[in-house]
Structures are given as structure tokens and as C-alpha cells.
Amino acid sequence: MYSYTYDGSFEGLLTVVFEAYERKAWPTAIEPAQLAQPSMFGETVQVVTDEGKANRVWQGLKKRLSASALESLYYTYLWEQSGFERLIFDYARLVFDSPESVEGNYTAPFILQVQQIHKQVHREKHRMEAFVRFQKTADGLYYASISPDFNVLPLIVRHFEKRYADQRWAIYDSSRRYGAYYDLKHTSFVQLENPALTPRQRGKLSAEQYDENETRYQMLWQVYFDHVNIPERKNPKLHMRHIPKRYWKYLSEKQPRLQ
């Protein structure tokens, strides 16, 4: 029995794949080092992330998989739900051990599962691109906070860079406690931490920090939202299916009406 630990990074996980092949010792468990429980049985391998080894695994996958399948594997990493390391490992192993391409073989359970995860993560990414609402601050920064179900912030940055090339913006993931900041040239990831704040307060702006017109535009947006609706066609079920309640916290049009 071999239990592998790694540093939690994607490169670290790819290094685990490399080490397992080198040792021909197939993992019974893969866990981030800080979460791992010491095991009474078997051997624990503490893998140190090695960019060279990670890259060799990635290049090997690249030779055998399409861009979209590679993306699915990375999405599975960002999915973060329990067992994702194992899933990525099993998928990679099947790819390396099969003489022919395994892509699109939805009769194999974990290929189907990775495809379904891809869909889930992609949907959350798309929702964040849609539901982010920037608030303009007095110093001209457009700011938004999110707490997505999956770790999609790295996936949405490119979209916002292309769209808002001429304004400074920041998006903060309040549950994972890091954010992306665009300074008109580059985007950098930043950690912001104020332990005094509760999760609800974290990453929120107060009205004093607003640009002088911010409240006005939030109000205009609420007015627009109310008046574009056709009451004769009311369909609450369809409405809820499109914007489930857990997303309402982002949406200024779903907040109490401003006066």
C-alpha cells in the first residue's frame, strides 16, 4: 500500500504521477501533505513538486490527448471535490497504458466522470462571467467578490482581461481568500487576509468606498431589471432554474430596492 502526499498544486499532482510510474508503486491514496493522516500500514511517499517531472507528464498527456481533454483534467483539479486526485491519476494512467486513444470512451466510468466534471466546472465558470457585478470605488477600481462552488477564478481572468482592457479591476474569491487584480497591463493573483473579518464581511465594500455615481447606476440597473419584466408571463420556476438562489448574493438587481 502506497500513500502519496503532495503540496496541493497541479504541478505537485503531476509529479505524483511521475513518481508512481518511476517506482511502479501505484497509489492507494493521494492527499495534500497538510491534510494527510499518518497511516499505520503501508508506505507514505512525500512527493516534492518538481517542475521538470510535472512537465514531462504534461507533455506526455499532450501527445495523446486533445486540448479539450487536457482542459478537462485541469478542470478536475479545480473541481476540488473529494477524490479528484485519484480521478486525475486513474485517467492519466489509462491514457499512458492504452495503445490507442481513450478519449470519448464514455463507457469507461472515470472518463465519463471527468467529462461530467468538465461540464460542472465549465458551467460555474460561465456563471461567474455572467453574475460578477463590479462596483466602482472612489479611486476608480472596479471591484467584485465571488465565492464560487469550484475554484474557477483562474479560468475567468482571461475573459475579463479581454473585456475590460481599459479599466482597473479586481475579483476576490472570499471563500478561498485570494483574488485577481488587473492593473491595465497584467493580472496578478493576490492574497488578502484580515482575520478579524467574518466570512460574510470578507471582501465586501462599504458604501463610503464607492465612487460618487456607483449607487446611482446600481439603482438604474434595478429600475431596468424591474421594467424589462413582463408580469403577464411570470414563470418563477424557470426564473429559479436560470438563477438559483445561491447566486443572488452577487446580483444587485436581487437586493432590496435602493431609494
Partner: protein, 421 residues
Amino acid sequence: MNDKIIGKLKILADAAKYDVSCSSSGGKRKNENKGLGNAEGMGICHSYTEDGRCVSLLKILLTNFCIYDCAYCVTRKSNDVQRTAFTVQEVVDLTINFYRRNYIEGLFLSSGIFKNADYTMERLVRVAKKLRQEEKFNGYIHLKTIPGASDELIKEAGLYADRLSVNIELPSEQSLQSLAPEKNYSEILLPMDSIKNQLVQAKEESKLFKTTPKFVPAGQSTQLIVGATAESDRQILQLSDQLYKGYNLKRVYYSGYVPVSTDSRLSIISEPPIIRENRIYQADWLMRFYGFDVKEILDEANPNLDLDIDPKLGWALRNRHFFPVEINTADYEMILRVPGIGVKSAKKIISARRFAPLHFEHLRQMGVVLKRAKYFITCQTKSLQRQDFDSEQLRRRILFGEGSVRSALLTQQLDLFRQVG
């Protein structure tokens, strides 16, 4: 807050909302000038109204003053509503500020007709031009083409807009004459034809020259009102078919008529025909993505869509000789015709069966919905049903469940109750 913009926005959003198009996809405008916005690729719905429709664009009228008196229209001259107008700058400011906050993908600008067609069209073009040239805005712009506007103005509009549309509104010339006497079909079809020709021309030129100015990259669309007049679904879908084929339209939108007038020339209805609208959309999808010909969906004997079942199921029940379809060997085109199987499921089936013979269990795991499909397919010649049903029995089982003993008569009664309730 007391703000005259708020008052204008209320009136001019209210007046624009019956135009159902809110698509922001299909544009190819990239942010190459380090400006604001990007309209390449997929559309995004930034919110949804309580009636369940996508909010992608700031959809407003420039003004609701109008010289026409079309019976179906809330903005008609004789209607007693408050009138107002935005200035060009006000529309530009709203668009930019909403866009910067990620509320919208862009602007959908329509207008009542004040003075004359050219005067109105010129204003619309001015908004788009200002957004593109002064604000370096690369978001999505959809402009309405005002029937009767000059060719030059339409051409100029096409240089700034991602999509242009002319609404036909009424599905027959006869209805148009009775309800909108100031309009006529040729006046509507003329700009549509001109946009089509310029699209073709722009495409030809782009083959010859490296940089040709883009002309409405997301194409043109139109809207038909459903239920205000007596046309059958067959007439409506035949018209759509002609529009898709003859004018290369990207989309025909269908708007279930919301009673906004008590004019005696209109059908008397109490609620918008939402189910009928939905069935027409499904039929439209069958024509555009599922390889169906309009003649297969409706014919003289069946001029209207069945409201209880989707049109693909309706077709399958009338054409049982094509079924059952063997999932492991049938062509993609035929799998697409199985009720309940959509484009995504069909593609997954085609992909997976290269590796192993498929069972029903595989289909279930892949997320293929079998509720309707199971009556029309076999997996390795096996079927999920032990006996054969005729089409009427099948219809009942699908509608009411397998243990159903309800008779067709009861169904009819339920229909009556539904109409009354």
C-alpha cells in the same frame, strides 16, 4: 433619488420589452484597440427576468413617440401612454456604465418612429457610431432597422452594429394590412434584402482584401407575433422557412402576443399563448439543427402543432415505420430524430460506441433521457418494452405514465379544464 433618467428608463424599457430578441452571440468583434469590451464568441445572459427570459442587453427604445398606429403595439399613436425620448448621450452613458459593471453584453436599440423613417434611423446610427468611435466600445450592438429608411443609412448602421433586425411582426400580408395599415410587406422585406446583399458582398470582399470593414458580423434577425391574428402554425413556420432560406436570417423570434390593446381587429385572448410559442420554437429548432424540413413537421392535415407533446415526438408518432432505431449502428442523423435525444446526447452516443457496444445502462449513465426515447430505440436489438403499442397508446403512456388507464376522453376534459382555469 429624483432623476429624470430613471423616469425615461422606466418608460422606454417598458416599451421595448415586447421585442423578445436578447441574443448577444455570433459577434466577432475583438478588443484590439485596448478599448472597452469584447463581443467574440458565446453570448452571456447576465440576469433573468421573473418571466424567465435572458437579460443580455440593455434593451430600450430611443423614443416611444410614434407616428404609426399599429394595433398590436403598445407604442401606437392612439395609445394613451406617457411619451419621452433619450438623448444620444444619455443612451451612450447608460450603455457604457452598465457594461463596465458587467451588467450587460451591450445595447439593443429600437425606436418609435418620429417625423419619418430616415430621421429616426439617423439617430439610431448616431448612438452606435458614438459608442464605437468615441468610446472605443467593442461590446455587442443590435440596432433595429426602421422600415422605409434609406439604403445608405442601413449600410452605415451595418458598419457599427453586430446585428440588424427588421420585425415582420404579423405572419401574413393580410393581417399586416388590417392591423398596421401604414406598413406593408415590401417595405419590410426591402431592407432585409438589402442587408442580405451587403452581407454577401462583404463576405466576397473579405476574401479579396485582408481588411474589409465588418458588416453586421452577427447577421440579421426578425420577430413574428404569435396569437394576435388567426394564422396557423404551419403558415408561421413556412414563413420562417422562407426567411431562413431566402434571406439567410440568423434567427426568427416568436413573441406570444401579450394583450396590450383592446382593438377589435385583434384576437381576444386573456393570456399570452406561452405553450404555443414554446412549441413553435421547438419546431424552429428542428428545422435549424435537426435536419427537419418544414413539410415534415406540419402539413395540410395537421396545420397546428400539438400543444401536449413536442413536435419531434409528434413526427415520430406519425412515422412509426422509421423506428425502432438501433443505437449501435444508426446514422447520427437518425439518432437525432429520436424523441428525447438532443444534439449533445447524439454526439456522445456516436463517440462512445466506437469503443464498446452500448447498453441501456450506458445511455443512462451518459445522461441520455429515456422517458420518450425508450419507445423508439433498441440497444443491440434489445428493447426496454415487452409489447408493441400503437401511436395513440404511446402518446398516452408518455403523457400520463406507464400505468395510465386514462382515456383520451379524460384528456380532452383536462384540456377543457385547463382552458377554463
